[in-house]
């Protein structure tokens, strides 16, 4: 079993994800309560099933949150960091949000090329030529398969008129 390409496991000493554990468990409880509240306006036969599940989840969520609080008090919170590398995780999430927003606004092609080049660069990858080649190859093959071979549409694109001409 060799995992040489993997980054070393980031279980840094002294870091704990327990705040995230508690917040997330309480969030689940909140969602479950919300579900029960929403379902209260539905007819009984439609509401019974979701309410039963949500009630169970609320109890379990409280259990997990309480358990974590107890563990913290005893001085042994759940070990392990939540993120392996905080800043890069933030970059990743921001890139995803920006990418999806861009796709909804100006279509698939340009944001896709941009994300292929900029996302690796943002975390320190400097072989621009390779990133750009990969981006172009991917976009072109996606267009070939989805648009030309199977006739599946892509999101409304800034470059659609151009594509229509290439056809």
């Amino acid at each position: 079993m060799e995992v040489t390409e993997e980054a070393p496991p980031a279980t840094a000493e002294g870091r704990s994800r327990s705040p995230v554990e508690i917040v997330f468990a309480l969030l689940l409880v909140a969602v479950s309560v919300g579900v029960i509240a929403m379902a209260s306006s539905y007819p009984v036969e439609s509401a019974a099933y979701p309410v039963a599940i949500a009630s169970g989840m609320a109890v379990l969520g409280l259990w997990i949150a309480a358990r974590e609080v107890l563990r913290r008090q005893r001085g042994n919170p759940t070990p392990g960091a939540f993120a392996e590398h905080g800043p890069r995780l933030a970059i990743g999430i921001a890139a995803l949000v920006a990418y999806f927003a861009a796709v909804s606004l100006i279509g698939f092609i340009l944001p896709s090329l941009a994300v292929c080049i900029l996302l690796p660069a943002a975390v320190g990858f400097r072989r621009w030529g390779l990133a750009a080649t990969v981006g172009v190859v991917c976009v072109v093959s996606i267009l070939l398969i989805f648009v030309y071979a199977l006739g599946r549409p892509i999101p409304e694109d800034l470059l659609s008129p151009l594509l229509a001409k290439v056809r």
């Binding site: 606004l105 006739g151 549409p153 409304e156 800034l158 659609s160 008129p161 151009l162 229509a164 001409k165 056809r167």
Partner: protein, 320 residues
């Protein structure tokens, strides 16, 4: 955004044509919206007819089938109704499901927002019972329903508010009895249930019952059409038994309202010719697709009547 896109498109097309007169319709690919997922009955019908429409529209006409499934068809139909009325957005609409949604009053479009072009298929509803069932006719079924202490259960392939459900509501009103509909939400499960005898009776479309009925695995005790079907001449209609229940699922093509009349005429003609194409006709006959061509005006009248009927039913027995 869209506006900018279309300006770019216009510029591009002007550049492309450089002096040539305005090309004849269709000068770019036509989008045919299907409100159901790829592989469904409507989708296959659309993809099949599209090829032959291309042939008869002439030139380099191309039709791209675009699936916009969801919400029982409402998403795709809304897209058709709100599309640009230039003839490059058309779509399949399924009556009376689309009429029912409009009558319920929650849709973002009205039937008037659609320009009917032509109807292609009309598949009447049927009421079937398992082969071992003691009900041999509608009369048996109604007698049993009237005697039973709890309402008789009838399986349907649709959901609440589907054309089959509405047909059942009409039928029980006319027969002065009461049924409990069991919604299976799909044709395959309801056919399996009636074949296995898990429900005493079920509704579905004729084309879905044809094969198993011919083999004698189920009995068709009523067809919801004005006349007996040529595909299953032995099965009696509801009218013969004295109940005026005429319900079926139709598939037709419509465009957004405001499409130029010459474009409507062109599409209408292409559909008519495509339906008469020997190769298509052969495939349709083999598959026993109940083709029924209605030209634009007839299709519109057909849709209007469906809406009026449903409004009356909605007033008497709202299905939701």
């Amino acid at each position: 955004m869209i506006k900018r896109l279309s300006i770019t498109a216009a510029l591009a097309s002007v550049l492309l044509m450089t002096g040539a007169a305005r090309a004849e319709y269709p000068e770019k690919p036509i989008e045919m919206i299907v409100a159901f997922a790829p592989g469904g009955g409507t989708d296959v019908a659309a993809r099949s007819i599209a090829r032959y429409m291309e042939k008869y529209l002439g030139g380099n006409a191309r039709i791209g089938v675009i699936n916009k499934p969801g919400a029982g068809g409402e998403i795709g139909w809304t897209a058709v109704a709100q599309g640009k009325p230039d003839g490059y957005t058309i779509g399949f609409i399924n009556a009376p499901a689309i009429n029912a949604l409009v009558v319920e009053g929650k849709t973002k479009f009205k039937m008037g927002d659609l320009q009917p072009i032509a109807n292609l298929v009309y598949d009447p509803g049927v009421l079937v019972v398992p082969k071992s069932s003691s009900y041999g006719s509608l009369k048996d079924l109604i007698d049993a329903a009237k005697k039973a202490s709890t309402p008789l259960v009838i399986g349907t392939s649709g959901a609440s508010g589907s054309s089959e459900h509405i047909a059942l509501l009409n039928f029980q009103r006319l027969a002065d009895t009461k049924f409990t509909p069991a919604f299976f939400g799909g044709t395959a499960p309801v056919r399996q249930a009636v074949l296995g005898g898990h429900v005493p009776a079920a509704t579905m479309n004729l084309s879905e019952a044809l094969q198993i009925a011919r083999e004698g695995n189920i009995k068709v005790i009523g067809v919801m059409s004005a006349e007996r079907s040529a595909y299953l001449p032995d099965a009696p209609t509801f009218r013969e038994a004295g109940y005026d229940v005429v319900v079926g699922a139709s598939r037709g093509i419509a465009a957004p309202k405001g499409v130029p009349a010459d474009v409507v005429a062109k599409l209408e003609k292409a559909i008519d010719q495509a339906l008469k194409d020997p190769e298509y006709l052969d495939a349709a006959k083999k598959a026993e697709i109940p083709l029924q061509y209605l030209a634009s005006n007839d299709f519109k009248a057909f849709l209007d009547r469906a809406t009026t009927d449903l409004e009356a039913t909605w007033k008497a027995t709202p299905w939701k």
